[in-house]
């Protein structure tokens, strides 16, 4: 049995690829600041004060860049069938990143020269945060299925006239 024929793709206007690339690039900047710049700055600050880092700067940079770039690619390719799989990829990378934090469990900061140790458990809040990409993952799966069953079906609603 063949897939149902999608309704005619009328009544919507997809921005051009160049526009989407430009907008995606502009969108990428704050994402990089949020996901890479600020966390790296915080970790560098701790490191400069001799505090052992709970998480390497490289891990934060790679994970942040991966999420930001995938998220931008998802935005640029939203009118295509790659949107759903890219949504899944963004969610999976985010889940992997958060799971790394979850497995660390407790961030321990040893203040050098003061014999003071401060421990902060993060499993609770990271567990809550995991809900966000988990739900987004479901959205990505549903969109992928929808694009497989009825390509372009969602475009009139994603890009209303």
């Amino acid at each position: 049995m063949s897939a149902p024929t999608p309704p005619p793709a009328v009544g919507y206007r997809i921005p051009s690829l160049s526009f989407r690339i430009l907008a995606g690039g502009l969108r990428l900047l704050p994402l990089i600041v949020l996901l890479v710049g600020l966390p790296d700055a915080a970790l560098t600050f701790l490191q400069s004060h001799g505090i052992q880092l709970p998480l390497s700067i490289l891990t934060v940079t790679v994970a942040g860049l991966a999420i930001a770039v995938l998220s931008t690619a998802r935005y640029v390719l939203k009118p295509t069938r790659a949107y759903g799989p890219l949504s899944i990829a963004v969610s999976l990378v985010t889940i992997a990143y958060l799971l790394t934090l979850y497995l660390i469990g407790t961030f321990v900061l040893n203040l050098p020269g003061h014999a003071i140790s401060i421990g902060l458990g993060v499993t609770g809040i990271v567990g809550l945060l995991l809900l966000v990409p988990a739900i987004s993952l479901l959205a990505g799966i549903v969109t992928t299925v929808e694009d497989l069953r009825a390509p372009r079906e969602r475009l009139p609603f994603d890009y209303p006239p």
Partner: protein, 274 residues
């Protein structure tokens, strides 16, 4: 109703609506978590700014050959969230890293907007046979480990450990008891006994210092006492003549002293008489 092109609005397909609902729920959850995080961070800053303070620290002789050290930790929680399971522990080692004692307080829950004093008491053994006997007569540096844990804003377990050195002032610092040569007196023989020490503790030595001259393998052959009212930082030095039994030679004997005050009796380190 129609769109700006005059076409009728079409209801989005089921899968589209489902995906959109997931995305919206995800966004709402994210925003709620961020709001919670922001308020928790703000509250935590307020708690830190309120500055937990310590006060009422004091020490006194206590039963079972101990010195009781107690203090009050005043803790206020001006934040939005409770601090639950707040407990503090203290462990004290002497300068040779020998365990002396420990104490703890809690766990308690500090509700949002509340102030709560937390009293912590621990006992240092100062009996003559215990590891802390030298605390009576020798100033020293104690290794104090303090650690506490709590759960803040339901989700954040926090632990803090501080290790520090504290100087201990001995209540009978540099205690010296000297016994002179027996001389005739009081119908027999008397021996002058001199006691000197400095009170380096933060509490007074009030009461009585009793002593006995105990020859090797024999019963006491003379005893005496001094009344004490030596405040913190003060010196004490007195001599008294102690009648001794006939035939008793203080030389080679042991001088055993006790501090008696505030309803407790604390044995002081014995001294061999040359």
């Amino acid at each position: 109703m129609s769109n700006p092109l005059g076409q009728p609005y079409r209801r989005p397909p089921g899968l589209y609506r489902l995906a959109r609902a997931f995305r919206r729920v995800s966004l709402v959850v994210f925003v709620l978590i961020i709001l919670f995080l922001a308020s928790a961070i703000y509250s935590a800053v307020e708690v830190v700014r309120s500055g937990p303070s310590t006060g009422g620290f004091g020490a006194t002789f206590a039963a079972n050959d101990t010195v009781a050290v107690s203090g009050i930790l005043n803790f206020s929680n001006p934040g939005f969230y409770p601090i639950s399971g707040f407990a503090v522990h203290i462990r004290v080692l002497n300068q040779s890293q020998v365990y002396l004692g420990e104490g703890s307080a809690g766990p308690v829950t500090l509700a949002s907007g509340s102030n709560q004093p937390i009293t912590i008491t621990f006992y240092l053994p100062v009996g003559s046979s215990g590891p802390g006997a030298s605390l009576l007569t020798q100033d020293q540096t104690l290794n104090v480990s303090v650690w506490g844990n709590a759960t803040y804003a339901y989700l954040f377990p926090i632990s803090i450990a501080v290790e520090t050195n504290k100087s201990w002032g001995a209540p009978f610092a540099d205690l010296a008891i000297s016994v002179g040569t027996p001389v005739p007196g009081m119908g027999g023989a008397v021996v002058p006994v001199t006691v000197q020490f400095q009170n380096h503790a933060k509490f007074a030595d009030s009461g009585e210092l009793t002593f006995a001259i105990v020859p090797t393998g024999g019963p006491s052959c003379g005893s005496g006492s001094f009344d004490l009212d030596v405040g913190p930082g003060q010196q004490f030095g007195q001599t008294t003549n102690v009648p001794i039994s006939m035939g008793c030679s203080p030389s080679g004997a042991q001088l055993e002293a006790e501090y008696v005050g505030n309803g407790v009796t604390i044995p002081l380190p014995p001294e061999r008489i040359p």
